[in-house]
């Protein structure tokens, strides 16, 4: 079996490593939002510390996002040595299922979020201001672009060592 790895080591990554990538992606987004809020409110040395942490969170987020995008789009599935292996019908079926599940999750988020915003506006409850709008939009882009890859990375079992 061909077990050479990609630049990201994604093709041979075990499921725990792939799950770590998914957790790293969303955890770095949340911590990035927290650090960004800290940058706005702090001054002096604390400001530079928050900027450094924000940069680190951004780097982790970019690395995880690239890794997941590589897993799904460029190099095929874990254990598969072929590049652009989209002709494989099982992998295509798994991808389709991931996109269907992503649509269900995203439509639920959009529906629930819209309903909450509508009710909050009607009853004068808390609404996100300009400071929250940017992280929300960035989060929406992140979820839209990474959710199918994340689902596959999370659920796809490890490549079995049974090529023979």
């Amino acid at each position: 079996m061909d077990t050479h790895t990609t630049a990201f080591g994604i093709r041979a990554a075990t499921r725990p490593k792939r799950r770590l990538l998914v957790l790293g992606l969303y955890a770095s987004y949340v911590s990035g939002c927290v650090f960004a809020a800290g940058v706005r409110s702090s001054s002096g040395a604390a400001f530079y510390l928050q900027v450094a942490l924000l940069g680190a969170a951004f780097l982790v987020l970019s690395g995880c996002w690239l890794g997941l995008a590589t897993l799904l789009r460029e190099y095929g599935f874990p254990g598969d040595s072929r590049v652009f292996a989209s002709k494989d019908e099982r992998q295509t079926a798994v991808r389709h299922e991931a996109f269907v599940r992503s649509f269900q999750i995203l439509s639920t988020i959009v529906c629930v979020g819209s309903l909450c915003l509508m009710l909050a506006a009607d009853y004068g409850l808390w609404l996100p201001d300009r400071g929250f709008a940017k992280p929300l939009v960035f989060g929406a882009i992140l979820v839209c672009t990474s959710l199918p890859s994340s689902i596959i990375a999370w659920t796809e079992p490890d490549a079995p060592q049974d090529a023979l």
Partner: protein
């Protein structure tokens, strides 16, 4: 025959790919390369965890040179030795 196999809504498709493959001395990787699929897909097919499309079923049939119904069935297969050499019921 099991109840599952009699149920028309039951989607399990049984196959003889492992037997045919080992008869010809092929590895999963060899068969996967011949059919242009991942060797994992061959594993999923053999274990009955993934049902192939008609196209892939016909490609397997052409590759092994036997009819599709000799490779795939909705009912569990008898062992080949029983089908060929059974003396019961004669």
């Amino acid at each position: 025959m099991s109840r599952k196999a009699e149920d028309p809504s039951h989607s399990q498709i049984y196959n003889r790919i492992p037997v045919l493959r080992s008869e010809r001395g092929l590895s999963r990787q060899d068969l996967a390369q011949a059919l242009d699929v991942s060797y994992q897909t061959i594993g999923y097919l053999e274990r009955g965890e993934f049902n192939p499309s008609l196209l892939l079923a016909f490609r397997l049939s052409e590759y092994f040179g036997i009819p599709v119904e000799a490779i795939f069935s909705r009912k569990p297969f008898q062992p080949m030795s029983v089908e060929l050499y059974s003396t019961k019921g004669e």
